[in-house]
Symmetry: C2
Subunit: 401 residues, 2 copies
């Protein structure tokens, strides 16, 4: 199981790293054990297609109380997984992607909450996806794997919640694409969640967001090793395309200021080299990140994740273009958080959701956090941000305890 | 000769188009004739390499006065050329890339000024570049064409000015990469220009700018049709890489707001298609622009242009890291213009140059224009912007007439 946590680590200063490391030892949920849930049913998708006999990889931390009302579902973004917190016994360095958020005495305190992580359908960390064997053809799905939507993921996640015997989640929570899933939960299953926590997210991609995704997809789709999505059969991998996609993604995850502060125009050499080798530090960084990513991530998953992002548009789906109308019937309470230097999903995107909720007189808390690290901030250890989550979560717990 | 003017046209609303068309007929310099200047000498480059026996394509408009002090050199950016204004007799739709700026009674009035356009060394519109025959080997340069810097271009341009018998230019002017050349003129040949007009430019790329360039380069360099730069010999073209590079460039040329206003989330179809075909308008637009670009532009030129952008850093070259120190000895007067929604080279970049000039008590005018079209605004017809250039140019003329 390969899990991405490098975006956290690459951006953490040395002192922060030390603190993080200390925290990991003191407040970790410890060794964790993923498990697979097999569904022998058919899941009807928004596209009209269906997935039969699918598996979902799951991890849970903490204990489900006897009222079964302390469960928090955490939804992951593009390249993460069900491995949110803790480590694996045989892979002690494989730390969950939101380990600074979830654990004993952490903002989402596993002494209080039963936390659930699910690897999304179509992902590449054990849940059924393009590189899985298609039950019908007994070959890897490849190009036959259907495109998915945020709504499809939520419909799959609700099966896991049912399987665990939970009627109503205390909260659904996520950042970025994970926040879209949380928002969609409040629309698809309004009676099934008490709280909805949406961080650094948006109710729809902008034209510029779609443009970035389209370039990433074109990089993969035109890689000669892509073979129309069936590269598994050729024992190849459209790694070049995937690397370009990842480099591009990285630019949008980091704030302009942060990139300037971290890399500026620093060179690897005293003088210009007049070649296409990496000579600026930012070039080396991007190449390194891209290389690592291409070694563990699946290109078909990347493609379908970006399409799900593009398609997400609850105002269109539920409100005839109006987000206010779309959110009329939500029942949960909301917490939204955005970061000032996030230019991927800027604070206006969160404010749009907040406004639509207020228009409907829904209960909503919102914090705009002044923070330097752009979109990636949602993964980082930021006390202001974490304290808000902690206080909100403590309050959630107070009402069920 | 293929000249890029699509970025102007794609962004002009219908009414503006009509006005532009009217202007073209009324105020055009008319049919123009490029000419080639052959230099049988060697040009020493910043890299230590040399170019021997190079040609530069040139166009001029208006008349050089008897004092030879009314010449304005206009430097071009990444994908443009010497064809600044007018049209070709046999290609009436091939309008110069800055035709709205240069012509009779236009901001740079060809009734007053003698305007010079030079296709940069290394470009692909007739001047010696990677697809030219190497005098030494009698084969196309390809990968052997040396990497260039902004300083090298200026050193080549000064040969043209000498050839035309001009001791001192009334002005050097340019937008974006063209503005870098103007700034570099003021440093390399301070006594050879009276005015320096720098629009939507910067004294150095940021880490984010370099990151975008690096991804564009990686797209080309890893295209299997690139053949280490020698694709001419294989009769191929790394068109996929070039298309990705162009799509990426486009995102940075348009403002976020402008992209939202022009494309938003508009679909080509009523329902989602659940395929990788273009379904959002922004996808079609980018694919179309990329396709057109790849048909006329040379990938090796794209590579070297982005490297010249990355390398430009007068503070490092002349000021030990201080732009103020670097600009100590400039002699020209300056006009700088930036646009509020330009996020490629944002207004801070221009202000940094203005501040360094003021620190040195140099004569500098500066306008920050509130305009919606991002970096591309410098190519568009914007009255506020054009009137500032017009007034400044009229004043330049007043002092020489």
């Amino acid at each position: 199981m390969h899990i991405n946590s490098e975006s956290i680590h690459a951006q953490t200063k040395d002192s922060e790293k030390l603190n993080d490391h200390k925290n990991k030892i003191i407040n970790s949920v410890g060794a964790v054990y993923p498990f697979e849930i097999k569904f022998n049913s058919s899941l009807k998708l928004q596209s009209g297609q269906s997935i039969n006999n699918y598996n979902l990889m799951v991890e849970t931390y903490g204990t489900l109380n006897s009222n079964k009302n302390n469960a928090v579902l955490i939804c992951h973004a593009l390249n993460a997984s069900h491995h949110i917190a803790g480590y694996y016994e045989n892979e002690p360095n494989n730390i969950g992607w939101w380990d600074n958020m979830v654990g004993p005495n952490k903002p989402i305190d596993t002494n209080k909450f039963f936390v659930i992580g699910i690897n999304n359908l179509g992902s590449c960390f054990g849940s059924t996806g393009p590189k899985s064997i298609n039950f019908n053809t007994e070959k890897k799905y490849g190009a036959d794997f259907p495109l998915l939507t945020v709504e499809d993921w939520v419909n799959a996640q609700v099966k896991v919640i049912d399987y665990l015997g939970i009627d109503k989640l205390c909260a659904v929570m996520g950042g970025s694409l994970g926040g879209m899933q949380a928002l969609s939960w409040s629309l698809q299953y309004p009676e099934k969640l008490e709280h909805c926590i949406i961080i650094a997210s948006t109710a729809k991609l902008s034209a510029q967001n779609i443009a970035f995704n389209e370039i990433a997809r074109q990089a993969i789709l035109t890689d000669p090793n892509y073979y129309d999505g069936d590269y598994y059969h050729y024992n190849t991998n459209p790694a070049q395309g995937l690397k370009l996609a990842r480099m591009l993604g990285h630019i949008t995850y980091l704030s302009t200021q942060d990139m300037a502060a971290k890399f500026g125009r620093d060179h690897k050499f005293n003088d210009y080299q007049y070649s296409f080798d990496a000579e600026f530090e930012i070039e080396s960084y991007l190449r390194y990140q891209a290389q690592k990513f291409a070694e563990y991530f699946d290109a078909n998953t990347y493609l379908l994740m970006t399409k799900a992002l593009d398609y997400f548009d609850p105002a269109k789906k539920y409100g005839n273009g109006s987000l206010t109308k779309a959110l009329e019937n939500v029942l949960s309470k909301f917490l939204l958080i955005s970061f000032t230097t996030d230019w991927r999903f800027d604070t206006k995107c969160s404010k749009e959701i907040v406004k639509a909720l207020i228009d409907n007189k829904k209960q909503v808390s919102y914090a705009e956090i002044d923070a330097p690290h752009g979109h990636d901030e949602f993964l980082l250890t930021n006390n202001h941000y974490h304290n808000i989550i902690r206080d909100y979560a403590d309050n959630m717990y107070f009402n069920i305890a």
